[in-house]
């Protein structure tokens, strides 16, 4: 276990950003922009994913969540550089993850500065390339934009999964489940009755977190609140069914706690994209992250709350969560025993 942790933390989970997907809008298409774009391509930090043709496309690409950064060259970039000794380049970063945005703009600036120095070397008068930066979605680079969705995912998971699993298993330990089984009451009703209060509690939790983030952290809710609530309830249901599944499978509170923590909490923290960018993980971890429900919820919350997107942009993630809900619930009901063994 400690070996696995060291390997995962040391190599796989890193805050360093590599191979970030970027898009380029080259309105100038001259010698200078071509070499600069080549510099970007050659850098191990960036993958030039797309060459765009219009400014509108830039917006769309960000909405799709495909790119982290866009580099935009104005018309006559080379000419301005040659004649005026200075030129402009615009960097637009997806700042819904402010850490990544900061890192990427810093890398980009470094590449541009390098290029500027390399061409200046042969001349007396220095060239200056000014970069104009725009932080999309989160102009102030507030950390809250990142951690609020993460905290929401964690709180819901903690309350729903762990608490449901523990309270049901507690009944098993106390022996009251035994008495309940030997009664005309259908066992499924017992279990559902255990889950409902946590669903209600979770809704209160979601509202509290949202109120706090809007009024205390001054975070905007750019998308539809109804959609956000519905998606949150969907995630809550996924967590609850996971809790039920755990409670059906284990016999002691300790085991329930352990499984909730190790099998759910840690992956949520590490693999949901909230602490460590998923793009930088090695393939096996990236694959595993797909089965972490929180990853999908995290994407949804960021999209709706911060990017202000609607259901048509997040239907895929919603579908994944719905699939998970059906799977876990079926498993939990199947696993639930009408007898003790």
């Amino acid at each position: 276990m400690p070996v696995v942790q060291i390997v995962i933390f040391g190599f796989a989970l890193t805050n360093e950003v590599k191979n970030a997907k970027i898009a380029v809008l080259d309105n100038s298409k001259d010698e200078a922009t071509t070499s600069l774009i080549a510099e970007f391509s050659n850098s191990r930090y960036f993958d030039v994913e797309k060459n765009l043709v219009s400014y509108n496309q830039v917006q769309q690409e960000f909405k799709k969540g495909k790119i982290k950064l866009a580099v935009i060259f104005p018309q006559n970039f080379s000419r301005d550089l040659q004649h005026l000794n200075k030129a402009q380049v615009q960097l637009i970063a997806d700042a819904s993850d402010p850490n990544v945005a900061n890192t990427l703009t810093a890398y980009a600036n470094a590449i541009i500065a390098d290029y500027q120095n390399s061409i200046t070397n042969n001349r007396k008068l220095p060239y200056t390339i000014n970069t104009e930066m725009r932080m999309l979605y989160n102009p102030q680079l507030k950390g809250a934009y990142n951690f609020v969705p993460g905290v929401m995912a964690m709180v819901l998971l903690l309350v729903c999964t762990m608490m449901t699993a523990i309270t049901i298993v507690k009944e098993k330990e106390m022996g009251t489940m035994e008495i309940m089984l030997v009664s005309p009451m259908r066992p499924q009703i017992v279990v559902i009755a255990k889950a409902v209060p946590y669903l209600l509690l979770s809704i209160v939790n979601i509202i509290t977190i949202l109120l706090l983030s809007v009024f205390v952290l001054e975070l905007p809710i750019n998308g539809s609140i109804t959609l956000l609530m519905l998606e949150s309830i969907l995630f809550t249901l996924v967590s609850l069914s996971l809790g039920l599944l755990i409670s059906a499978a284990v016999a002691s509170q300790q085991t329930a706690m352990f499984i909730s923590l190790v099998a759910l909490f840690l992956p949520t923290v590490m693999l949901s994209g909230f602490m460590f960018p998923i793009e930088n993980m090695p393939l096996p971890l990236r694959t595993v992250s797909n089965i972490v429900p929180a990853k999908w919820y995290y994407i949804i919350v960021k999209s709706v709350m911060i990017k202000g997107l609607g259901i048509k942009d997040i239907w895929k993630e919603t579908l994944v969560l719905t699939g998970m809900l059906i799977f876990f619930l079926t498993m939990a009901i199947k696993k639930f025993k009408i007898r003790l063994a």
Partner: protein, 304 residues
């Protein structure tokens, strides 16, 4: 009418099914009977109770409760039986009254509806109805658990070790309550590790290591004990035990309260024992003939 029919029940545990909890058990319980299953821990009492209350599946064999099959008709059985497990299975954070109300609700009934049945038991704890169940003494918890098991007027009552770890006074009170319930026509199957409780049952099964040693009325079991049984006492109890063990006429001897119980091989032993006492007058030896009790029978059956 048979309330419970058990035929060739086998139950094993473990991956290789090597732990034999119940080894081919068969017996019947008549309607309205107070039937005791007497045996130490590990005899298989709890496994048997769980099979009959539909909580466990037997490896093989058949059982019915009130005519319902424990496997196929488990839903019907759950409607008609009352079950009290040896563990304290009440909600400690709920009050006495809340617990009772809760169990009444899950059985689709109310305290009022069946109050007459639990009245004699419940009045004893009613003064504390607002106290949390977790704060009751052992005897009180037991009474509450019994009230909860009875609240839906079950036709068969399963009590798995209700008196284990409970002091002698509370045990006596508990058996008084069972007598009262029996008069109401409820069939009661009760298990206990205390041998002296056997006398209070209509019929008992003595169990050890998953097998039934004997099954009969307490009187019947005692009548089957054919060897003469004497009690011996002296001022040197420990030496007396060693001395008597060596005698040829003795089949078995063991301490029993303030006496040693001597089981003789046959009638002729009685004179020999009297001679033995004559020879050891300095130890103030006392002897008397005894009617065996269930514990004597259990020991004899175990050693057979």
């Amino acid at each position: 009418m048979q309330a419970i029919i058990i035929e060739n029940i086998i139950k094993t545990y473990g991956k290789s099914k090597d732990v034999m909890a119940l080894n081919n058990i068969s017996f019947n319980v008549q309607k309205g009977e107070l039937f005791g299953i007497i045996g130490p821990d590990g005899a298989g009492k709890t496994s048997l109770f769980r099979i009959l209350t539909t909580l466990l599946l037997a490896d093989s064999g058949k059982a019915t409760v009130d005519g319902f099959d424990v496997v196929k008709a488990y839903k019907q059985i759950r409607k008609i039986v009352g079950y009290m497990s040896g563990r304290f299975s009440l909600y400690p954070d709920l009050s006495v009254e809340e617990n009772l109300n809760f169990f009444a609700t899950i059985f689709n009934t109310s305290i009022k509806e069946n109050y007459d049945l639990i009245k004699d038991i419940y009045v004893q704890i009613e003064p504390f109805k607002n106290r949390k169940a977790g704060q009751l003494s052992g005897g009180m918890k037991q009474k509450l658990a019994l009230s909860c098991a009875l609240i839906h007027r079950p036709s068969v009552l399963f009590l798995d070790e209700p008196t284990t770890g409970v002091d002698a006074v509370s045990r006596k009170e508990f058996w008084e309550m069972l007598k009262g319930l029996k008069q109401q026509g409820i069939t009661i199957l009760v298990s206990t590790p205390y041998m002296d409780e056997a006398d209070l049952c209509d019929k008992v099964a003595l169990m050890q290591n998953g097998k039934i040693l004997s099954i009969d009325t307490p009187g019947g079991i005692i009548n089957n004990f054919s060897n003469p049984l004497w009690a011996v006492k002296s001022s040197q109890m420990f030496h007396l035990l060693n001395d008597i063990t060596k005698q040829d006429f003795v089949k078995d001897v063991y301490p029993f309260g303030e006496f040693h119980h001597v089981v003789m091989k046959d009638k002729s032993g009685e004179t020999l024992l009297k001679n033995f006492v004559q020879m050891h007058q300095e130890d103030k030896m006392q002897i008397k003939e005894l009617k065996p009790n269930i514990e004597d029978c259990f020991i004899a059956l175990m050693k057979n």
